[in-house]
């Protein structure tokens, strides 16, 4: 199994995917068919505490730019983690050299982390 895994190891995932996605599609279709259909304008309006729904800004409105920063930092750390995994798996074989190079790598990424922290990029309410 460790040498060259057969593609057959992935066949069960395909079958499970067919079952689960099939079930989901079936539910969505069935839900549309089984329920009553007595629509009116107010019922179809988006929910908003009894007032006329706020129109969505066409062509892009204001957006809490904080989310952009979060997603960007997520990418940075995600890539770090992706490098950490093969390193961890082969740690015993890489010996001390492996430890040193990863410490260097983490230290460099932590520079970015420390900078963002200092500038207040991790404060949500700022």
């Amino acid at each position: 199994m460790r040498g060259a895994p057969a593609v057959s190891a992935y066949l069960p995932i395909l079958v499970l995917g067919l079952v689960s996605f099939g079930f989901a599609v079936f539910s969505v279709v069935a839900g549309a068919l089984t329920g009553p259909k007595r629509y009116n304008r107010a019922r179809l309006a988006a929910y908003e505490c009894g007032i006329e729904p706020t129109p969505q800004p066409a062509g892009g409105g204001r957006f809490p730019v904080k989310y952009y920063l979060t997603a960007m930092l997520f990418i940075v750390f995600d890539i770090e983690i992706v490098f950490l995994y093969p390193w961890a798996v082969t740690f015993d074989r890489l010996a001390l050299f492996g430890l040193i190079e990863m410490v260097l790598f983490i230290a460099t990424v932590l520079v970015a982390y420390a900078y963002v922290w200092r500038r207040g990029g991790l404060e949500w309410d700022n």
Partner: protein, 415 residues
């Protein structure tokens, strides 16, 4: 272990997993309602079936008979697609979870696990990240402000805690030398990783609650702020699918915690001395017990802890969980390197380091709390002094002012 099952066995296993997950969802919803009721001195659902066990099934049927609403202005195709994208991956993650050792099934000897490959833990992460799409798209396509904000919030929360979760895996991989779930369980034959890598387990346990949007981290569904969050506009079976996905995800993260830290299907210590405890179908019982223990903790948390504020939650994830998991990771790696390069027994060292790390985190939490309490006391004293000097007390409407206003209603109209 090999995974070269004939197609018939694969189908049986797939259906088994599917039914197991649906049953566990139905059971967990019921258990949650009953346990939380108990904690709040209520009774909870006890009418449908024995002890109300059929309640969640009936609720599901009721949802199917409800009106299926697609709000005006919603983006139809994406609106329909979102619950499907949310549910499918939730089930898919279970493909690599080991339920037990090799068993005999219709005359075939096969592991009690659908499949496994060298990167199966990573596969769970990948599938989970596809599942987040369902939430983002549901929020976007509903064309409602609450849904949009709820979707953004949930996904930002999930990706923030995914980092801590991913980092907590690294220590496990260091010790198991593999990313395949069955190998990781094999490496826990003598000692479970929770004992060796307690901080990793703690970090994983916290981030798994954040990852599944459960209390006290259930901010996307903060009713007072966002109504229902990303699924505000969903009704009927489409809503049921989101609900199902949430509970299946709970079961998945619990099963991952069991696999990575609690020895998977392996029997706990006093029982493991019995020779039959780790063979055949019996280990499935241990697996179920461990997963239900986690699910109970989920319910317990919900019954006990108040919801966190969003900025506190994000600060905790980015400023506490991530740095402490990187710290712990470096400690583990150093200990491992020491063990490899000398004859030192690093297990004791590792446990000591874990205890020290936990104590440091604990002490800093206490110190921080005392600092906050001290400033609060100072401010309160100052506030009281100020109030005394201004002869002001924190009281509701002064009766004199109110009655004066009542005499002149016209004035307020013009204001």
């Amino acid at each position: 272990m090999t995974f070269n099952d004939p197609f018939g066995i694969i189908v049986v296993k797939v259906l088994g997993i599917f039914v197991l997950l649906v049953l566990m969802t139905l059971f967990t919803i019921w258990a949650e309602r009953r346990v939380v009721s108990r904690m709040q001195h209520r009774i909870g659902p006890n009418r449908t079936g024995p002890q109300g066990l059929l309640q969640s099934l009936m609720d599901g049927i009721k949802l199917a008979l409800k009106e299926d609403i697609t709000p005006t202005g919603a983006h139809k195709a994406v609106f329909l697609l979102a619950p499907i994208i949310s549910t499918g991956p939730a089930f898919l993650a279970f493909a690599v979870i080991p339920f037990g050792p090799e068993v005999s099934m219709f005359g075939h000897t096969t592991p009690l696990q659908l499949t496994d490959f060298p990167v199966s833990v990573l596969y769970v992460l990948a599938v989970a990240s596809v599942g987040i799409y369902g939430i983002v798209l549901a929020g976007w396509s509903s064309n409602s402000t609450y849904s949009l904000l709820g979707g953004l919030r949930s996904s930002a929360q999930m990706i923030s805690y995914e980092i801590a979760m991913g980092l907590s895996f690294v220590a496990v991989f260091l010790y198991s030398g593999s990313m395949s779930t069955s190998q990781i369980i094999e490496k826990q034959t003598s000692v479970w990783f929770i004992l060796l890598l307690l901080p990793s387990f703690a970090i994983y346990a916290i981030s798994m609650v954040g990852e599944t949007n459960r209390a006290p981290f259930d901010l996307p569904e903060a009713e007072g702020e966002l109504v229902g969050g990303f699924h505000t506009e969903y009704s009927s079976l489409k809503f049921a699918l989101f609900f199902l996905a949430e509970y299946v995800n709970m079961v998945t993260v619990s099963a991952m915690a069991t696999t990575l830290f609690l020895g998977g299907w392996r029997a706990p210590w006093p029982l493991s001395t019995w020779a039959g405890a780790n063979t055949g179908w019996v280990p499935f019982v241990w697996w179920l017990c461990k997963v239900f223990a986690f699910l109970f903790v989920f319910i317990w948390l919900r019954g006990t802890l108040p919801r966190m504020r969003y900025d506190q939650f994000m600060r905790f994830g980015w400023k506490v969980l991530i740095p402490s998991s990187i710290c712990w990771l470096l400690i583990v790696a150093t200990a491992r390197a020491l063990r490899n390069n000398s004859t030192m027994d690093t297990r004791g060292l590792l446990v000591t380091a874990a205890v020290i790390l936990l104590v440091v985190v604990g002490i800093s939490a206490v110190v921080e709390r005392q600092r906050i309490a001290a400033t609060e006391r100072d401010e309160a004293e100052r506030g009281e002094r100020e109030a005394r000097s201004r002869r002001l007390f924190p009281t509701p409407h002064a009766p004199a002012a109110a009655s004066a206003a009542a005499l002149e209603p016209g004035e307020a109209h013009d204001a």
